[in-house]
Symmetry: C2
Subunit: 328 residues, 2 copies
């Protein structure tokens, strides 16, 4: 299986994507990697590593899409960027998946435009993996669709359930609709309609609230991309916030250096479940291919895990299962 890796994406390219790719090859002998990006810098990094040359190839894509570039115009104007070239290679069958730590919007735009949508999919979605007390769970839409139609909730629930079950290995994932209260009549008209449509799904557990996210009352949390984006970014700020609060307390209470270190070490370990490295990246669901995006600050380990997740999407044929699910 060939997985393409965006070697011009993320805060530390090409080093981290290339290192992540090499680590993935080291752990799985059945994988090959197509590195997509400016070939000169990629070859420079490769020249310092030892690896089986038959398992890595490079697709030269000299243009770079910046993290803050406008997605639509970047995809249109930079045909030789890693994202457009890599997704193009995926469409042409040169690789089975494409993973990137680059510009999320650009990757979504390229994936939707170039790969197209799976049969019956109204809108592709980004499903974020979210840390809870019971491990990572899914929250979607994570910002690709700021406003949803009621039917989109059902499609997103079906697609995310398949990803949760096949890739995240969660049995019979429970689906919850994020809402302002538990009762079916809570929320806006949109949410009431969505609730009624979702009620036909076997693992729909009803409305869930903001307080139910960390406890993993559900496995798949449904919301519009506006709320989802706010919650995810808010959630990401928690570890730093707790550390800041603790540092303030250390000062006030004149806590000695040894105790500080012990407390921060325990807290760091407790908060390790927030570490996005473990999941690596999140999928675009509903596109006709396997396309995943990781955090801009993705480490080699995160890139490696994203490659493994993409490979699992291919092995478990999640797109075939999504199409079947949306037909039923």
């Amino acid at each position: 299986m060939v997985i393409a890796v965006d070697a011009a994406g993320g805060d530390h390219f090409p080093e981290y994507p290339v290192q992540g790719a090499l680590e993935a090859l080291g752990e799985r002998s059945d994988l090959k990697i197509l590195l997509v990006g400016p070939s000169g810098p990629i070859e420079d990094v490769l020249s310092e590593a030892s690896f089986d040359k038959s398992r890595i190839s490079v697709l030269d894509a000299p243009e770079v899409i910046g993290m803050n570039e406008s997605p639509a115009s970047a995809v249109k104007s930079k045909r030789h960027s890693s994202i457009v070239s890599g997704i193009g290679a995926h469409r042409n069958g040169e690789c089975e998946a494409f993973v990137s730590a680059g510009n999320t919007g650009a990757l979504l735009a390229a994936s939707t435009l170039i790969l197209g949508r799976l049969e019956n999919v109204q809108r592709p979605t980004i499903a974020a993996t979210f840390p809870t007390l019971r491990g990572f769970r899914l929250l979607l839409d994570a910002g690709a669709n700021l406003e949803l139609k009621p039917e989109s909730y059902v499609q997103f629930a079906r697609m995310a359930s398949i990803y949760a079950e096949e890739v995240m290995r969660i049995d019979d994932p429970k689906i919850g609709l994020l809402n302002v209260g538990e009762e079916p009549e809570k929320g806006t008209e949109l949410h009431k309609t969505a609730f009624n449509l979702l009620a036909s799904l076997p693992h729909f557990i009803g409305n869930v609230e903001g307080k139910d996210i960390f406890s993993a009352k559900a496995d798949v949390y449904l919301c519009d991309g506006f709320s989802g984006n706010l919650i995810l970014k808010f959630g990401e700020s928690i570890p730093a916030m707790i550390q800041d609060l603790l540092h303030g307390t250390f000062g006030e209470m004149k806590v000695d250096e040894k105790t500080r270190r012990a407390v921060l070490q325990l807290l760091g370990r407790a908060l390790d479940s927030f570490n996005y490295e473990h999941v690596g990246g999140v999928p675009f669901l509903g596109v006709n291919g396997v396309s995943m995006v990781g955090h801009g600050s993705s480490t080699p380990k995160a890139i490696k895990n994203m490659i493994f997740n993409a490979a699992r999407c291919v092995e478990m044929e999640i797109n075939r299962k999504i199409v079947a699910s949306l037909k039923s």
Copy 2:
């Protein structure tokens, strides 16, 4: 000044509201209290305390609105509930404010129906006080208005700014629009329109994101009640979540009892800024009166602080200032 206190609201009535009222009287000699609720149980609690009888009176309201009752029908059917009687007493000038730890929806409905709206106010709003690294800040709407019109953002910004400045003592409060990105063109059409309208306010700092909440980049965070409710309930779950994660780590790492206690004590102190007791309650802004609601689990200290906040709303004449602001 007479502040009415709902003695049939919250998880521990009438004890906690009555104790909170007595504590408030002990700290401020200029206050009088009107306790509203079933007079028998109230008198029982009072009979065990020593206080200046000229400063407390009781308004008998035998009906109790439960925490989970439907607000609209409860307000309509229970005319002799503490909420309807207390807000009625406020409208009749028997007290300058009403505070409650009871059913938020019922208090909002009663306040809006019985007190009415201030001149030019389209919709009253609930402004939540939210802990940040720089102290409490305001986030609204907190769930009273699940969907907003663009103009509502401007009205809410004006009302909340006055509350933040006069009651929370934040100079020139900075106003931020919660959105999915910083750039003015981010968000839905609604958010773009709201952004443009807000741009006329002197202290509008533009879009803020989920990650900017804890850092208090703004002092007043604007959002629709749907997102606001999700964020607030999510945020409230953080302290318990951190503690759960730490307990798991203690077990894994076989941390000794003494270290556990030390860590939890420091963490507890660090997270004390999340303690809603300090603020006591949140205001309904835009109603023609002073009406505040506190957490169902409000302690006597929280009730006392809610009484003080209500008194400050009266002293600072925030409603007169809101009316003036909405005229300008």
